[in-house]
């Protein structure tokens, strides 16, 4: 019997056919591990994860604490918030911090910054890079280490690969191209997309198509993260949703998108301070922490009454 006549979904049919199984008998003779290529046991996955415990610090100890040390590699983290809360600031901070040398506890990697809204300001990246170098020198002096700080702010800027994207087509294209780009620049350890929502909010008339394209993008980014052991950070915008009798804030791109990312961090205002809340994570506890945006970048907030609130 032909696979094309089987009562299964077209997607699955397509998958079977493209894998070469055109008749029922060919499926029957294959073993489960043949068909489900690319599976791993949970134990193997744990070993793999433990090898890459690398996390990118956010330069704010409280934020790093709730994130389990920082933004993790091999996963996709979505960060959303109202305008002015500091999403781009956090993005630029991560693009700089990923370059912290291994001797100082960093990854010594490079960054890809995909800018869809034009919010990347080079002057700010320079400010943050200069503060990072100063902090490293301070750390060195404090510990009286022998390792030299060889990085200069200009070197940091040189290791940020900046793409300016102007339409959702270019956005899809750059995400497809990243596979080749990162193979050629193996030291890229973080890909930041600022913001993922912008071109998808207003160009699309067919929302069902948008959902499909977005899930395709999420899948490709996840594969990219796993294949090259890098961190993918997606910055998202907010919108309002009418639920339970009032307008509430939620991240853009809809409910189906909210399933696509591994971790979700929401940045919000709480009595004059900026806070971050772990909204979704398979292994991090729901908690919130406060942070502040200073002239040197993202840092701990200086309020006296701060504490990490655990929310269960």
């Amino acid at each position: 019997m032909e696979v094309s006549k089987l009562p299964i979904s077209a997607t699955q049919r397509g998958k079977l056919i493209s894998a070469g199984y055109t008749s029922l008998s060919s499926i029957c003779s294959a073993s489960s591990s043949d068909i489900s290529r690319g599976t791993q046991t949970a134990w193997d996955m744990l070993q793999e994860e433990q090898e890459s415990l690398a996390r990118i610090t956010t330069s704010c100890a409280d934020l790093d604490n709730i994130l389990g040390g920082g933004i993790g590699c091999r996963e996709v983290t979505e960060i959303g918030g109202v305008p002015g809360i500091g999403k781009t600031q956090l993005g630029i901070q991560l693009a700089v911090n990923v370059q912290i040398p291994v001797e100082f506890g960093g990854l010594g990697g490079k960054a890809i910054y995909i800018d869809t809204e034009g919010s990347f300001m080079v002057e700010r990246a320079l400010q943050i890079a200069e503060a990072c170098v100063e902090d490293m020198l301070e750390y060195n002096r404090f510990l009286r280490n022998d390792c030299q700080v060889k990085t200069q702010p200009k070197d940091i800027l040189e290791n940020i690969f900046y793409f300016r994207i102007c339409s959702y087509t270019e956005q899809s294209a750059v995400i497809n191209y990243l596979d080749k780009f990162v193979s050629e620049h193996k030291d890229v350890k973080v890909v930041i997309i600022d913001s993922i929502a912008f071109h998808f909010r207003h160009g699309f008339v067919d929302l069902a198509l948008r959902t499909r394209v977005l899930s395709g993008i999420a899948l490709k980014l996840m594969n990219l993260a796993k294949k090259f052991s890098l961190a993918v950070v997606l910055l998202n915008q907010v919108t309002t949703k009418y639920t339970e009798g009032s307008f509430q804030l939620c991240l853009a791109l809809g409910d189906s998108w909210s399933h696509c990312c591994t971790n979700r961090l929401i940045l919000y205002w709480n009595s004059n301070e900026r806070h971050a809340y772990i909204d979704k994570s398979p292994y991090l506890r729901s908690a919130s922490a406060s942070y502040s945006v200073t002239s040197r970048g993202i840092r701990n907030s200086t309020s006296r009454s701060k504490r990490i609130k655990m929310m269960i």
């Binding site: 397509g14 034009g118 080079v122 002057e123 400010q127 900046y162 809340y277």
Partner: protein, 357 residues
């Protein structure tokens, strides 16, 4: 880039013909479909679809630049690394040189706080020749509420730059560089924007001012149901115009009084908070101003003007390079001047208690 024709991409002939046969002519058509959909439509193997998409993506993808190159390029080719100095020392220092090119700067405030005055001054500064600190170019001023006053602008010019404005020819030339458009409806505004696109591409316009944005929205200030914003196309166009032509765009906007049922909180906040705390966090709604979140995301720098107990303040509220700073200023014949060069750092909610005159 998105509309690049597949036929011009030099893909392997076989796959290029298949795309053409199925009427997928531009990159946009191909990249809007998922891989499986393409596979079904073109009736080819997934691996072929993937390699074709990879080739196409590489061609459509814009080239990258390192952040260093970006900075050096701007420092070399643009005025002050891409800034229009406002001649208000404290403000220019906070903004790393002045109103930045390539992004939208918003002036928000109740009526009568000085937004139009600031816009007039900036238009003048942009028209000035380079050795006086200007951009030596044309300015397009979209005056929606008919508040543009050329007399006031010339007064500002004569008062701040008497040496230039002494010679009659110069005043005429400077004023002649400022083109004022007064659209009376949203559709006229849309047409004007289209025409502006052309003159921007010809590189003669150095500043675009829109005074004011919310007057264009039909239906005034009522709370809008979520859905397509009437200005969403315009917002996207304005931000892309700013970026491609690398000019500063300054837009003014009104503040809307807070309404009592606005509790813009996230679901996780709503669960944890009681009534009292809910009220305290309502302050955020004013920052959304009149045009909603879409506009608020598109703006890079927001300056809030307010008048409190007889004093005027200009607050740098949203800026990637500066913490929230408040500057007190006055309005005088030469435009606006700051009372002190050092701004006072603000805690955000102070900006919320906006009161009109």
């Amino acid at each position: 880039m998105a509309n690049k024709l597949i036929s011009e991409m030099r893909l392997p002939k076989s796959i290029a013909n298949i795309f053409a046969a199925r009427n997928i002519t531009t990159a946009k058509d191909a990249l809007s479909l998922t891989e499986l959909e393409l596979m079904k439509l073109l009736d080819v193997e997934l691996s072929e679809v993937r390699s074709a998409l990879a080739l196409m993506s590489e061609i459509v993808c814009p080239p990258y630049q390192t952040a260093l190159l970006l900075m050096e390029q701007r420092a070399a080719t643009e005025h002050l690394g891409g800034h229009l100095p406002t001649r208000l020392k404290g403000l220019d220092a906070a903004l790393c040189g002045g109103v930045p090119f390539g992004v939208v700067t918003e002036l928000v405030g109740p009526p009568g706080t000085g937004k139009t005055q600031f816009c007039l001054k900036l238009s003048l500064l942009a028209a000035l020749p380079a050795h006086y600190g200007g951009l030596d170019g044309g300015v397009i001023y979209i005056d929606v509420e008919s508040t543009f006053s050329s007399r006031r602008m010339i007064e500002m010019g004569a008062s701040s730059f008497p040496e230039i404005f002494h010679s009659k020819g110069m005043a005429q030339e400077m004023a002649g560089r400022i083109l004022v458009l007064q659209p009376t409806s949203l559709s006229e505004f849309t047409e004007s924007l289209e025409k502006i696109k052309v003159s921007l591409l010809q590189n003669q316009v150095k500043l675009l001012v829109i005074d004011s944005m919310e007057a264009l929205v039909p239906g005034g200030h009522e709370q809008r149901a979520p859905g397509q914003h009437p200005l969403s196309w315009h917002i996207s166009l304005i931000t892309s115009l700013a970026e491609f032509s690398r000019i500063p765009i300054v837009v003014t906007n009104q503040v809307r009084p807070q309404s009592h049922d606005e509790s813009c909180l996230y679901p996780f906040q709503v669960q944890k908070m009681d009534r009292i705390l809910k009220d305290r966090t309502r302050y955020y709604s004013h920052i959304v101003a009149v045009l909603g979140f879409h506009w608020a995301h598109a703006v890079t720098i927001r300056l809030v003007l307010e008048a409190k107990s007889g004093q005027r303040f200009m607050n740098v509220e949203k800026s990637p390079t500066s913490p929230p700073l408040a500057f007190s200023f006055t309005i005088n014949p030469s435009g606006i001047s700051l009372l002190t060069d050092d701004g006072t750092e603000m805690v955000v909610p102070e900006t919320c208690n906006l009161s009109s005159r």
